[in-house]
C-alpha cells in the first residue's frame, strides 16, 4: 500500500497503485502525487549513507590530525609558490626602481626622457665626495640616499648637458607631515643658483602636501639663489604660501604648512651638508674676485660668524 495525495481537494488516500482519477473529487491523475513517508528507518539509512561516504575514503575532514596536516601542507605550498614568484620577478622590479630613481634625477635637471637608461648614462655620472674632491663611484646604483648620507657617503651627480654646461644634482631626504620626503636639487656649476628640482613623498595628504610632487611647485625653485650674504650658509628655504620674498625664498604649498616646512628643512640642511664638504673649483675663485675682494672684509665675516658660535 502506498499513500497518495490529491492536489485539488487536498485529501490523502491509500491505494496499491496510482489511480487514474482521485477517488474523492475525481481530479485527473496528473494532479495526484505519491506521498513518500519518511519513516525512522529510512532517515537512519540516509544518514548512514552520507556518513559512510567520507569514511570510505578514509578521511575525516573535521578531525584534528587532518586539520593540522591540511594547514601545514597548504602553508608550505603557498610559501614555495610565493618565494618562486618573488625571486622570478625581483630583477624586473629592481630595474624598475632604479629606472624610476634615474628618471627623478633627470626630472630635477628639467629633462623629459623617453629612454631613461641611455639618457642617464649619457648625461649623468655618479660621484662621491671624498676630502672635498669628487671621485668616481663605481658600486651598484643606489636607490635611496638617506642611509648613504648618514654613513658619510655623499653622492653627487655631475651632469653634462647638451649645451656643454655642467650641473650638480644633490640628493636629499627629510621628513614631511606623515612620512618621509626625498628630492634632488640640481645646481648650476658654481653651486649658487638652482637649476631644477624634484621632490616626492611617501604619504603626504593628497591634494595638499602631495602637491610638492607636482612640477608646478618644483619649478618655482628654478633660478633661486642658494646663498644670501654669507657664502658658507645656505639661505634657500620655503616660506608659508604667498610670503616668499627675494632670491632665497620659495612659496610653500597652501594648506600644507608642515609639509612645506619639511621641504624647507630638507633643502636647507641637505644642501648645507654638501656645501660644507664640497665646493666646486669655480665658485671660490668667483667669490674672491667679485664679491669679496678685500681680505680684511673676509676676515671680518669670519669673526662675525664665530661670535654666535661662542654664544652657544
Amino acid at each position: 500500500m502506498a499513500k497518495f495525495k490529491c492536489n485539488i481537494c487536498g485529501k490523502t488516500f491509500e491505494a496499491d497503485a496510482k489511480p487514474e482519477k482521485c477517488p474523492i473529487c475525481g481530479a485527473p491523475a496528473d494532479m495526484i502525487e505519491e506521498v513518500v513517508e519518511e519513516t525512522a528507518e529510512k532517515v537512519e539509512a540516509a544518514a548512514e549513507a552520507t556518513e559512510a561516504a567520507p569514511k570510505k575514503k578514509g578521511i575525516d575532514t573535521n578531525g584534528n590530525a587532518y586539520t593540522i596536516i591540511y594547514a601545514s601542507v597548504m602553508v608550505i605550498i603557498v610559501a614555495f609558490l610565493l618565494a618562486f614568484v618573488a625571486s622570478a620577478l625581483k630583477p624586473t622590479q629592481d630595474a624598475n626602481v632604479v629606472n624610476d630613481v634615474k628618471n627623478q634625477i633627470l626630472t630635477s635637471l628639467n629633462i623629459q626622457s623617453t629612454d631613461i637608461e641611455a639618457d642617464f648614462d649619457r648625461i649623468v655620472s655618479d660621484k662621491l665626495i671624498q676630502d672635498g674632491a669628487l671621485v668616481d663611484y663605481d658600486g651598484d646604483f643606489k636607490t635611496s640616499y638617506g642611509e648613504e648620507i648618514k654613513a658619510g657617503n655623499l653622492h653627487l651627480f655631475v651632469a653634462t648637458l647638451e649645451d656643454g654646461t655642467t650641473k650638480y644634482v644633490v640628493p636629499m631626504t627629510g621628513r614631511g607631515l606623515w612620512g618621509g620626503l626625498w628630492g634632488y636639487v640640481a645646481l648650476d656649476e658654481d653651486m649658487q643658483t638652482v637649476y631644477g628640482t624634484y621632490f616626492s613623498h611617501e604619504s603626504e595628504t593628497a591634494g595638499l602636501g602631495a602637491l610638492i610632487a607636482e612640477r608646478k611647485f618644483q619649478e618655482s625653485f628654478i633660478g633661486k639663489k642658494v646663498f644670501a650674504d654669507d657664502p658658507a650658509k645656505v639661505a634657500l628655504t620655503v616660506t608659508k604660501a604667498g610670503k616668499a620674498e627675494g632670491d632665497n625664498q620659495v612659496d610653500g604649498v597652501t594648506g600644507a604648512t608642515l609639509t612645506s616646512n619639511g621641504v624647507a628643512a630638507m633643502v636647507t640642511e641637505g644642501l648645507q651638508k654638501y656645501i660644507d664638504s664640497f665646493r666646486p673649483a669655480g665658485s671660490q675663485a668667483e667669490l674672491s674676485l667679485e664679491d669679496i675682494p678685500a681680505v680684511e672684509e673676509y676676515e671680518k665675516i669670519e669673526t662675525i660668524e664665530q661670535e654666535p658660535k661662542q654664544e652657544f
Partner: protein, 210 residues
C-alpha cells in the same frame, strides 16, 4: 557547452553586474573605491586586479571546497587570497611600476576587501569551479564598473583630463587668464563618496522603474 552557459549561469553572471552589484547594492569594498578613483587609470587597474583575484580565488576555493576542514575554512580562504594578492602585487611592480606606485597600499588591502571573502564564503564553498569563476569575474567587473564611473567623473572634473590626457586647454584655465577652474574638491576622497552616492541613487531609481 550548453550547460556551461545555461540560464542559471547567466543569472550568476549578470546578477552582480546590475541588480546585485557589490558596491551599488551590497555596499561592499567602499574603502578602496574611494581611495584609488581620483584618476581613471589606477581605477581600471584596481578593478581588473580585484576581478582577477576574485575569479581565481573563487576557482581555487571551489576546487578544494570538499577537502577544506570546516573549522579552519576562513583561514584557508585568507591564505589563498593573500597568496594571490601578493602575486598580483609583484606582477604590477614588475610590469606597470608607475601604476603600482599610485595604488601603493591598496593592492595589499585587496586581501581585506569584503567582496572577496563574501563571495568565497557565500558562493565558492557551495558551487562548482565554473560557476564560481563566473561569479568571481562578474563581481569583480561589477566593482570595476563603479570604480570606472567614479574615476571618470573625478578625473574629468578634478583635473580636466582622462587617462592623464589633458582635455581642457591650459589657456582656458583661470590661472592662465581663462575662465575655467578645476574643481579641487573632486581630487579629495570625500567627493568620491558623494559621487558614489549619486551612482547608487541613479542605479536604485532605475531599477525601481523595472
Amino acid at each position: 557547452m550548453s550547460k556551461l552557459f545555461s540560464k542559471e549561469n547567466g543569472a550568476v553572471f549578470t546578477g552582480p553586474l546590475n541588480i546585485n552589484n557589490p558596491i551599488a547594492v551590497q555596499v561592499l569594498g567602499i574603502c578602496s573605491a574611494l581611495a584609488v578613483t581620483s584618476q581613471l587609470k589606477p581605477a581600471i587597474v584596481m578593478g581588473l586586479s580585484v576581478t582577477v583575484i576574485t575569479a581565481f580565488s573563487n576557482v581555487i576555493i571551489s576546487l578544494i571546497r570538499k577537502t577544506i576542514p570546516n573549522r579552519i575554512r576562513i583561514i584557508v580562504q585568507l591564505v589563498v587570497v593573500a597568496a594571490l594578492v601578493t602575486i598580483v602585487s609583484n606582477i604590477l611592480k614588475a610590469y606597470v611600476y608607475d601604476v603600482s606606485v599610485q595604488l601603493s597600499v591598496y593592492v595589499g588591502l585587496i586581501i581585506t576587501n569584503c567582496i572577496l571573502m563574501g563571495r568565497l564564503e557565500a558562493f565558492a564553498l557551495q558551487n562548482g569551479p565554473w560557476e564560481s569563476f563566473l561569479d568571481g569575474i562578474a563581481n569583480g567587473l561589477g566593482y570595476a564598473i563603479i570604480l570606472v564611473i567614479v574615476g571618470f567623473v573625478r578625473e574629468l572634473l578634478g583635473s580636466g583630463s582622462l587617462f592623464g590626457f589633458q582635455l581642457i586647454p591650459s589657456s582656458a584655465l583661470m590661472e592662465n587668464g581663462g575662465l575655467y577652474l578645476h574643481n579641487g574638491m573632486m581630487t579629495m576622497p570625500a567627493m568620491a563618496l558623494i559621487i558614489l552616492a549619486c551612482v547608487i541613487w541613479a542605479h536604485r531609481s532605475y531599477n525601481k522603474e523595472k
